[in-house]
Symmetry: D2
Subunit: 483 residues, 4 copies
């Protein structure tokens, strides 16, 4: 029997959140559930919606996929009203807990405030320490709650002012959507690290992390919310504020590589097209003498098509994915785990036998999955395996809302190219260059003084100082509460 | 078919809470679960325990009976440590919600604080309004949370000082138990409206609402916590503080009438004995020519025994209770409800036929149950029904932690004695006098200038001003969150 | 701390079933749920109802109490139609399993048949072996299923004939209720070991194990179904058949001692009255010099009242029962179990201290509970404990539908009277004589040649040969299927 | 907003079952769970495993996906032993019910028998009627239960003989796996309509519906079980019986078109290869002037690659599938349903705009999905849509284990080619010819007198008479029992 350790889904970077909001539609909560379903790839652990019916806020926040939480026997029927915001979440540190599910909510003197956040605050721990010292009682371990407390304590009168006041004290990456009894607000941090778009459905306004969430409900794309912009929607229309100091735009380039859905258009470019171009650049930068190009499904598919098209080597589906395993992994019971089984992928032996293969994937994180895939392809009879990666080596951790392993666990941090090749046992290994990646996005050459994207995971060039990372951690008296 | 409306358990006053705490025993959480089980009659909606293992606080708070929540497949195993406090809760306004389950918890700069509360704050709403104005974010609708926020915001350094500071701003009735990483604290308000006792089990200290919760674990009764006293337990022993202004003791006399368990000793008197004496006083005050004395089970049982013993009329179990209905009621489905069935009680026809009955119950609230019981006894063939009540007419609402209907729904507020008799269709009706009740407790005559008990529900003489009751209610933006 | 082992509910004999049926009422299923609720004391493990709406049979069979299964959010709404039968079950060997929940159902060529059974077949294992040999596929471990297979295989044409044919092959005790698409049928075995009564509610006919189940829905008692009688109800009225050979009536005398509800009238006598008379006989047979008579709640209550009344010694509630423990026991988690706690009962120390006590209970089975009770009463300060038992020593197992321990576990089988007294550590111990018990039922002296009751558990005089008990057990390939 | 009705998964034919078995491996149940996971595409409603540990049979059968039922917190740990068989089921008539979940089990005189079945009996209803007449009690609505009753009633002595005896009375398609206390048995009907393969893992023997289930556990493919063959595995090895009359092999050609997983090798051919060749044949038979070939994901993917490769038109992923919708559909709540949303697929507008598209799918059943897909592609800006189908028109229902709509609902039964084109609003529409399909499988020209495959859904040429279809349906008294 095959005794390989299991191929884990853990060997990917993970977006930590997706946000969505509807202002002014009778089916606001149902639409939000759909939007979250389209954003499910941005977070699979939990889903939540807060709606407002003109009088009362209502909330449903549960662990599970959107389809389970808000599907047939789901919870949308409790969520009345024409106003709703929602959130999908990928697990962060501390394990899954019902208390961390967003949107967060606070009862302020001026009325209720619900808030959903995609990103990560780099000074959350310091803010939390200060707020606790001032008497704030935290209910979650989420950095988003710090924003809510800052809003609650702001001495400004209007909620929009309070929110601006709070965000001025916050550092890090955020695209957030808030709902009050009067307004829906969308904000992006000054660097615009995480995406946020504005859409329209009949007379309703929509916020969404990606355009695919507009498509699912047939909404029109209006425009990206700009870095540092706060879009405030009321019954009287929309208003655009720019309360934060302007910065050079640093959109996360990994959204193109892996996070965003291929049918989304983010910051003006179609994700599928960018990925295919990455494959084409990669074919030029790192050609291989081979019989077929095989994607690691599904993340390597567009780049593999690009590679095949640019190289003229035939494209084949040589690895079949079990569609009943989602992007996240249904964990097997222990006896199964030890068998090292192929729950997620299977090589099509008939196809691969005796062939020289170009294998294309989007990235290498720990390298454990890549190693298994190469081994599986060889076991199926491939004579040569040339591994091509549609991103530069991932050498640095992300502090802006992406779940990356510790730097020490990143294969590209530990080994040089030849070391990596040896580790994954490929006949050859090549990553696209960072310049090639920029070219594939349609950008000019990367400006190393002021890069057009946040590419810190490849370059270590962090646009925002990760303040918390530098300070000693105080042990908080967090209450353990199993869900 | 019998078309009487259903006999509802709603026709009783309900204690809203019971508290329990263990300091210094390896099985702290399991003991607390037992203690709460013995206090189940003080609250059947939800149960919670917070424990501390010297490093970490752990919590399990769930809707349901103690046996379900902490029984065989229950949650005590997650609750490690030698320190634990627990709480049982009867539903208050706003319906059942997971967010209101106590003990409440806060992470303070000095460490964690868990708090369990029996009673009711009479200025909770005003405190809440002020706290929200200052930026506090409330997670529950419970008045207890106001105490927690006051503690969190106190400028004193030590948690004991913070708690004293907080309680000085609080008005109302409370017996509360708190747990920090160093201490367990028990406090009663200056009037001592709600009970709280101190016990000992080997080297461990115990707090409990009633002595029956000491008995269940074989703990020794030490003494009552005094009105206005704060008992602080540390590794070094116990300390008694009296930080609040002294008041004349006003223990809730209804604890003797109905709330407390008959085997408990509260404020020095055995509850069963008091109840039996009430029955004896009642036989003297309101004799009847009858063939047998029948209790309304189980609350009327001790008083009926007293009545029988003092009157010489034989005591019989003429009404049988279905033991699979708890003190709370398993609600039937709608079709059943309309049948007007006797889910809880059944008259023993053979016994009652052709007899003159003295029927004894502890109290009349709305009167709807009493009416059904009288009708059931008559249907069973009784020729006369003389109803005797072991408390004075309940004419006023309680603001100190007892769930009473609006005053307008109290039968004794709406009707005079003859009106009530007619309503419940008894041949005669009598309540014990308030003086008789005092006599049964062993007290001297009631001092109408400074009554020895809180008897506001009978007299309207409220020891503590119900501040909230006088002010306009602001609609809070409370988040509706179905459990 | 008290280190007594836990007081277990296991130390009682348990009736294994209760049955109920309604023919011709729009709310048939809801009424059946109520009837089962009133019969809950006859079986707490599972409850089931099959209804028929003139076209289709519908079924809901679940583990749990009737209130949980068919209560507020329960399952009655799926059970349409004017015809329904139901069943409550106490666990037998093999642990709880969904497959054993009655009523059983079979699709016969002539239409559907549902069947609910109270009792026990003494040749079930032999029947099963033969039926399996002939190709019958058993789905449960219940002896009732053998009846269903016999009916299905009968060569008679009409279902009534098939049922008679089947029951002629069956030995043992049974009171059963069956429902077909045309008829409701009630049958008792020729000895009439288990009770079954006929009632009327408006135009509907009712079958029930006890009259208390008629009372709960306001139905009129018509008469007992006679031993060996089959009552067939159709749209045209009722028909009485006597297809089985007549036998001397041998009703289970333990129904009076413990099983039946005190408000029921069974075989013409009120259970409460019989129990009270047992207490009176007991006082005459076994007087004691004591200060008070204390019942073990709740089963000892009526006999204790009888004892007190005949002896002139005051009756007191010296042991308080926790009403949140049902007749069955909510099992505590392991750590709690080892504490030896008083989950179910508590002695009222104030009352018992320094007193000589007559303690009255209905029976002694293993004796473990009695021992704990005596110890608890002594711990509370009683100076003498005189234990009086309202039944003769239980020396033999029951084979007719009552869950008894193996004979070797019966205290009265292992020890003589003095040995038992010593074991339970009472100052004196007395059981009522079997003649005294007969007197209390109003019967003449027990006819030892042909006793008027089945009293095999006291006398070893078994009316029906327990055939299975004599044969070797073949290991059936039963499928283990956790619920 | 887009107002299209929802794209439903209902618009596919569905395989009704997959089977798997392990004989002689310590982790038999865990391996079976994995095998079933790999066969999940053959049935998503329920999953069951029966294992045997040498002494006892154990069973877990639940509604849900394999990952849910037997995953991390799943039920494999209860399934001890080195022998196990399992089953995945797609819902058939009568809705989901726990009673229908296989493997079925019977206790026979010779020991237990578990049985899992893929296929459909064409005389099940007649068999059932006869068996009920003879006294068999059916517990399910599954046709498989008829086989079990026939086995139980067989007069042969050995279970293998009984099974042969039973199968000789059965008509229809079946590939089944059985487990006794001594043997594991795999059988295919004489036509070999459904697949079944034999594999080896170390010393253990494996049966599986498809080879992909061998791959997932690293087992070796040994050979197909032959049509009409019964393979009996014991401790002493395997034995091949051929007890049924030989027939011309008629393997289901739709297994190649859609049912089987692309990485499986069935009846000697790789499914992916056959599908790609279908696409190539289709490109030759029905060329189109277009800018790109777009698959309907994921079922149209291999054929689209074949079409692109043969036609030279570029292949693009123009439709993106939401991976959080499985092959089955998570049903949305009602408000969502009415929005006509794109839960499952989204067109990549940027890619399709202004382009002439060849759209490739595997089949058209009702046509409703095809219509929505064409509309979606047009809405995204495609100027021409040429729809190409990788199977001939589906004109007839299947009676051999595939869930097909009534013939009247099949688009190809109602409309001619031009009518269908108009209905789905494509610019052109073409199906592969039946001869082209045979060519793609590598077969010679279809022998219309004795076709090499079962292609009845395309041709109406049914190899086995559907006996039940001709007879009047008797209304069985089936018990409705909600799960």
């Amino acid at each position: 029997m095959n005794t390989n350790p299991m191929i884990t889904a853990g060997d990917k970077l993970h977006e930590e959140c997706g946000v969505f909001g509807v202002y002014g539609h009778d089916d606001a909560a149902a639409l939000t559930a759909l939007g979250l379903h389209a954003l499910q790839h941005r977070g699979q652990e939990a889903a939540g919606i807060v709606s407002f019916d003109g009088r009362q806020f209502m909330s449903e926040r549960h662990l599970g996929l959107v389809g389970d939480v808000f599907g047939k026997h789901g919870h949308t029927e409790n969520l009345r009203g024409a106003y709703a915001i929602g959130h999908v979440r990928y697990s962060t540190t501390g394990g899954p807990s019902g208390r961390n599910i967003q949107p967060m909510f606070a009862d302020l003197t001026g009325g209720g405030l619900a808030l959903a956040h995609n990103g990560n605050l780099t000074n959350a721990r310091m803010l939390r320490r200060d707020l606790v010292r001032e008497g704030a009682i935290f209910q979650s371990t989420s950095d988003t709650e710090a924003i809510v407390h800052l809003v609650a304590r702001s001495h400004y009168e209007l909620i929009v002012e309070k929110l601006i006041d709070a965000l001025k004290r916050v550092e890090g990456a955020y695209s957030l959507v808030a709902l009050t009894s009067k307004k829906m607000i969308g904000v992006r941090d000054s660097y615009g690290v995480r995406p946020l778009v504005l859409g329209r459905l009949d007379n309703a306004w929509i916020f969404a992390s990606e355009t695919c969430a507009l498509d699912i409900i047939g909404a029109q794309f209006v425009r990206d919310v700009e870095p540092g912009e706060m879009v405030v929607i009321t019954r009287d229309g929309i208003e655009s504020l720019h309360p934060f100091p302007p910065r050079r735009r640093r959109f996360c380039i990994f959204e193109y590589v892996y996070f965003a859905r291929p049918d989304s258009v983010v910051e003006g470019k179609n994700v599928y097209e960018v990925r295919k171009h990455i494959g084409m650049e990669l074919a030029r930068e790192a050609p291989a003498a081979a019989d077929m190009v095989i994607p690691v499904p599904d993340s390597g598919l567009p780049a593999a098509l690009g590679y095949a098209s640019a190289s003229g080597i035939p494209f084949e589906l040589g690895i079949i994915r079990n569609h009943y395993v989602g992007r996240t992994f249904i964990e097997p019971s222990d006896p199964i785990r030890h068998l090292g089984v192929r729950l997620k992928h299977n090589a099509n032996r008939v196809k691969l036998k005796g062939k020289r293969i170009v294998l294309v994937d989007d990235s290498i994180v720990r390298g454990t999955t890549s190693k298994k895939i190469v081994e599986m392809v060889r076991d199926a009879g491939a004579t040569e395996v040339h591994f091509r990666i549609a991103s530069p080596p991932t050498t640095h951790s992300c502090f802006y809302g992406v779940d990356t392993p510790n730097q020490d666990d990143l294969l590209a941090h530990k080994l040089d190219l030849e070391g990596m090749r040896e580790f994954i046992r490929a006949d050859s290994l090549a990553f696209i260059s960072i310049q090639g990646l920029y070219r594939a996005t349609g950008a000019a050459t990367r400006d190393s003084g002021a890069p057009q994207f946040c590419d810190a995971c490849f370059s270590g060039d962090y646009p925002i100082e990760p303040a918390d990372a530098h300070e000693q951690r105080r042990q908080l008296s967090l209450l353990m509460e199993p869900v």
